[in-house]
């Protein structure tokens, strides 16, 4: 490898522009004649729209036009779609409630867009939006999934009786029930996974530009997958024909899943630009982000985990109510089903598993994938339950886990997944050693002397990344394939451009992807340019989510590099009159092994383009493309150990130590991987300790700003101890598994297990705020 190849801790190329404030985000974009859009949004969680009076607003300074749902409907702009069809256990398809980009008859969550005002300036658009008079007839609202399923609950959609979108199942119910009924011990819990607001640093934004001269559309949008956005906007929403639509996602300041989806605002900006013939830009403010970015999690689960007399798990039954919010979002059917229940086997050999998931509509913002997407919810259920079982059985949490670890691979779980490889014992060992678990009791004693309650909690997570084999997901209802594409363009001077369908919004692709080229040809990463995020430049691709850009996106690059390498070797063999099999490429040179015959890499590249001396029949040029479709998911796994001290007088939790021992397969850039783990841990710890989304009974979001929604700060986090172990993934060429979500998936149960251990009361829900912990201490004593 070159010094900047696979495994090198090179600094991120993209950080120069990010750190110096020179990133270019959608809100930085400006085109001549551009105007500004502001949305009129519902102040009610549930109401009928009886009329919209725009007359006063139209008189406001600078107003160009005001458009509402009736006009949208007249222009036959399609309703928002869900890209994954999930069926109920009775075989019936999920019940989609109609979701127009501008509400035409009914609003179902606070913040739902009702109209757009286009004006000369942003302030003028907002001033006028306030003056648009919408006549609402308020209706009763419901915000929790259990309440929404109850008899007599307010009904959201005529299409979905009882607010039930789907009643889905997986696994063998009879087998799980019978295993549990004969078990020696059963651990039962009710587990709530709290709703989260994603809060990327950059709020969403869209700039729609219809050019009447060319009859061409451009949409700049804060997207994790601009190609999918283009497809969906053209094929389903009917805003613009695909070949006349260019979608650009420039620098994007974080997504965490919330920027996968195609939201009403970008559709409306593009459509409004067509109607008004001016470019229309909208940038979300933080309040709009709280109200309308797709939220995450929000599960209520009942679980039963059964053990035989030898403490082996014999059966697992899970019943989950997943709050979907008011409407389906792009992947919101898959997140609480196929991305969740398929991971319920965890790291354990469980012979019988059954899960029932009800997807429920409520008068809240739509809920969809958020960093981890289903897998944090599964991990939280499994790891809270097994830790609780260990306490009930009087075993050490490590011992009970060890007893049940899967130890031979490949391993077929009862819930679809087939784990290709892993070594759960190794990550457990590494975690326990780094956390000095052996010395914990002494530390607990010492803390007691200071009046503090010390606790230790563990979580052994597994997740499915590298989403996903197209054929498999297609059979499960996905509307798209989940492969990735790449094109490697070698320039005549030997520099390289990689065009990828992955999209970087913080992950460091410009560096890691370039390292693949450094590894292959021995070129400096500075000679490699990564091109992404523009449908005019890059071939179709599926985008970035589900920790897939490494396992899937880079695998596509590897395939394309294989082709480039093969062609370069053919050219070199021809020029050097050697056998193709004797050619090696290293350190920027193309050599004949065992001789001093060689060409510079740039000479081969130039030769490919001059075409003066190529093998007979070879096409000139050095540019290759590839599509890579994974054979399987990848399965990162690890062991997280959290040690806390609780102040019993105030209920405050301090994380004293957090150890992460992860197996991500092979690693391209250890520094970036560690950064991903840190970020994920911050989010997971944020969920466990701080982040609570609270709607009141009327459906108003109480935590709609940072005054009330607690984000994790550096202050809340310890220095992390991060260890990585490697079992190489067996199903992709690089042997990598993915690392983007693990931190957020594995950490919440470790934190809650630690706090409940410290306070001696297992009845504690996330976020474990000081008040809740204080109450739990008092309830226990």
């Amino acid at each position: 490898m070159g010094v900047e190849g696979i495994g090198a801790k090179v600094l991120r190329k993209e950080d120069r522009r990010f750190i110096t404030g020179r990133g270019r985000y959608v809100d930085d974009m400006s085109v001549p004649g551009m105007k500004h859009g502001a949305f009129v949004r519902s102040p009610h969680a549930h109401a009928k729209i009886k009329g919209i009076d725009t007359s006063a607003a139209r008189e406001m300074p600078g107003v160009i036009d005001i458009l509402d749902g009736q006009q949208l409907k007249a222009d036959r702009i399609g309703n928002l779609i869900c890209g994954w069809a999930v069926s109920s256990k009775d075989g019936s398809p999920m019940k989609m409630g109609a979701y127009p980009a501008l509400a035409d008859e009914t609003v179902r969550y606070v913040g739902q867009p009702v109209a757009i005002v286009v004006a000369e300036t942003r302030a003028q658009a907002r001033d006028a939006a306030e003056v648009v008079m919408v006549d609402y007839e308020e209706m009763p609202a419901v915000v929790g999934s259990e309440a929404a399923l109850a008899d007599g609950a307010p009904q959201l959609h005529p299409e979905a009786e009882g607010n039930l979108c789907f009643d889905w199942e997986i696994g063998d119910e009879a087998a799980a029930t019978s295993a549990i009924s004969g078990a020696a011990h059963i651990t039962r819990m009710k587990i709530i996974n709290n709703r989260l607001v994603p809060n990327p640093m950059e709020p969403r934004a869209a700039l729609g530009h219809y050019d009447p001269a060319e009859d061409h559309y451009t949409c700049w949008t804060t997207s994790q997958n601009p190609h999918v956005a283009r497809l969906v906007m053209s094929a389903f929403y009917n805003v613009a024909p695909e070949h006349k639509l260019r979608v650009i996602a420039p620098d994007v300041g974080g997504g965490f899943g919330s920027k996968i989806y195609i939201y009403p605002e970008e559709i409306v900006c593009l459509w409004a630009s067509k109607r008004t013939e001016v470019p229309v830009k909208w940038t979300s403010d933080r309040t709009e982000a709280f109200l309308t970015d797709a939220h995450g999690r929000d599960h209520v689960t009942h679980v039963e985990m059964a053990f035989d007399a030898d403490h082996k798990i014999v059966g697992l039954k899970v019943d989950t109510k997943a709050n979907l919010g008011a409407y389906m979002s792009l992947f919101s059917s898959a997140t609480p089903t196929y991305l969740y229940a398929t991971l319920l086997s965890g790291q354990y050999d469980i012979p019988a598993i059954y899960a029932n998931v009800k997807g429920v509509y409520t008068n809240t913002a739509p809920v969809d994938a958020y960093r981890g997407a289903g897998r944090p919810e599964a991990t939280y259920v499994v790891e809270r339950t097994i830790e609780t079982a260990a306490r009930e059985l009087g075993l050490s949490p490590a011992e009970l886990r060890r007893k049940n670890f899967i130890r031979s691979f490949p391993h077929q779980t009862p819930v679809i997944m087939n784990y290709d490889t892993g070594d759960f014992e190794a990550t457990l060992e590494a975690g326990m050693k780094a956390a000095d678990v052996a010395g914990f009791e002494a530390r607990r004693e010492e803390a007691k002397g200071r009046g503090k309650l010390r606790g230790l909690g563990m979580s052994c997570y597994i997740e499915a990344c590298g989403i996903a084999p197209s054929k498999a997901v297609g059979s499960l209802g996905a509307g798209v394939g989940l492969w990735e594409s790449a094109e490697v363009r070698v320039n005549p001077v030997g520099t390289v451009e990689i065009l990828t369908g992955s999209h970087s919004h913080g992950q460091g692709h410009e560096t890691t992807f370039a390292q693949l080229v450094a590894e292959r040809f021995g070129l400096p990463i500075d000679n490699v340019q990564i091109v992404h995020g523009d449908t005019d430049k890059v071939q179709f691709g599926m985008g970035t989510y589900g920790s897939r850009s490494g396992a899937v996106g880079m695998s596509a690059i590897v395939k394309a590099l294989d082709k480039v390498e093969a062609k370069a070797k053919k050219i070199a063999a021809h020029v050097l009159e050697a056998d193709e099999g004797d050619i090696v490429i290293e350190n920027g040179e193309v050599k004949v092994v065992g001789t001093d015959k060689k060409l510079g890499w740039h000479e081969v590249c130039l030769g490919a383009y001059t075409g003066h001396n190529l093998p007979d029949g070879m096409e000139p040029g050095l540019k290759e493309g590839a599509f890579y479709d994974p054979q399987n998911f990848t399965f990162p796994a690890g062991c997280y150990i959290c040690e806390v001290e609780v102040d019993p007088e105030t209920g405050t939790t301090e994380i004293i130590q957090f150890v992460a021992a992860d197996d991500f397969g092979n690693i391209i850039n250890p520094m970036i991987v560690e950064g991903q783990v840190h970020g994920g841990l911050a989010q997971g710890i944020g969920q466990a300790l701080l982040e609570g989304t609270h709607y009141d009974e009327a459906g108003q979001l109480v935590t709609a700003s940072y005054m009330d929604y607690a984000m994790p700060r550096a202050w809340d986090l310890p220095m992390f101890k991060v260890e990585t172990l490697v079992t190489a993934c067996t199903t992709n060429p690089l042997g990598i598994k993915g690392c983007g979500e693990a931190g957020a998936i594995g950490s919440p149960p470790a934190v809650i297990n630690a706090i409940t251990d410290a306070i001696g009361n297992n009845d504690l829900s996330m976020p474990a705020t000081p008040e809740k912990v204080w109450n739990a201490i008092h309830a226990a004593s």
Binding site: E649, V702, T703, Y706, M707, D708, P770, E771
Partner: protein, 267 residues
């Protein structure tokens, strides 16, 4: 934010004049750390902002032995790092240094904080405990007279907080228990042993009507200025604030715990 206009007077008189003659609503602007976010959320729409930060009479700190005077437009950061205050009333400088974050401390001012009287603002607890005087362009009021209740002070229309003055206590202690989201106080307590020997205990963030003096604690502590003196006391839950971050019972508990910790730190 709604459209507004901006004025920069250079004297208190000029500011008062501008306050009187503007059409629509004129608002004093000091650090803007409360007012500007409120305007951005479209919850305030002043037609003119009158910036107090360039009036020299409102600036500056003087320390004369134990007598301290702080101009209304003095920032939290200036107070936190002022050598004279650090020597005479270290707990007061410490309090200023824990307000918000560095950006807030370099913009926000004591005059703005006192005039705004947010129920979780930090200075009011200390000013009540110390027995400070609030100076305006027309009069002087004791902290007890000035702070009336939630966002309510004795300030009249067209009245400007020009300064705050107090006699440094013999001993003072500050403990702040933060709201995990806003980092304002969920409960914070300033304890002061005044030069006349009496004790002041100011509590902010916890009460349902703004910062208040915990008088039972003051009497208990006048015998012995030590946390153990509070052991027998309970805090009236009925006077506590209750919200999604903490019930009144929790805040009542915090008040006592935090007061003891403030005492433990007092110097």
């Amino acid at each position: 934010m709604y459209e507004t206009s901006y004025q920069r007077p250079s004297s208190i008189d000029e500011a008062i004049k501008l306050l009187g003659d503007g059409e629509g609503e004129a608002k004093l602007l000091s650090g803007g750390m409360t007012l500007i976010p409120t305007m951005k959320q479209r919850l305030a729409m002043p037609s003119v902002l009158i910036d107090l930060r360039h009036i020299s009479d409102l600036k500056g700190i003087s320390v004369d032995g134990s007598k301290i005077r702080i101009g209304g437009a003095t920032t939290h950061a200036e107070i936190a790092r002022h050598d004279g205050i650090k020597a005479a009333a270290p707990s007061f400088a410490y309090l200023a240094g824990l307000i918000g974050d560095p950006a807030v401390r370099h913009m926000g001012t004591i005059g703005g904080s006192v005039a705004n009287f947010d129920p979780a603002a930090d200075y009011p607890a200390a000013l009540l405990a110390i027995g400070a005087t609030i100076h305006t362009n027309t009069r002087e009021l004791s902290a007890d007279e000035f702070f009336l209740g939630m966002f309510e002070t004795a300030l009249e229309e067209n009245e400007i907080v020009t300064a705050v003055s107090f006699e440094a206590p013999q001993a003072g202690g500050w403990e702040k228990f933060r709201n995990p989201a806003s980092r304002y106080a969920m409960c914070a307590v300033f304890v002061a042993k005044r030069t006349d020997g009496s004790v002041g205990v100011g509590v902010t963030g916890a009460g349902n009507n703004g910062a208040f003096r915990w008088t039972e604690a003051e009497s208990a502590l006048s015998g012995s200025f030590d946390g153990s003196a509070l052991d027998g006391l309970t805090v009236d839950e009925g006077a506590m604030m209750s919200d999604i971050h903490g019930t009144s019972a929790y805040r009542a508990n915090l008040t006592k715990v935090v007061a003891k910790r403030a005492l433990a730190k007092a110097k």
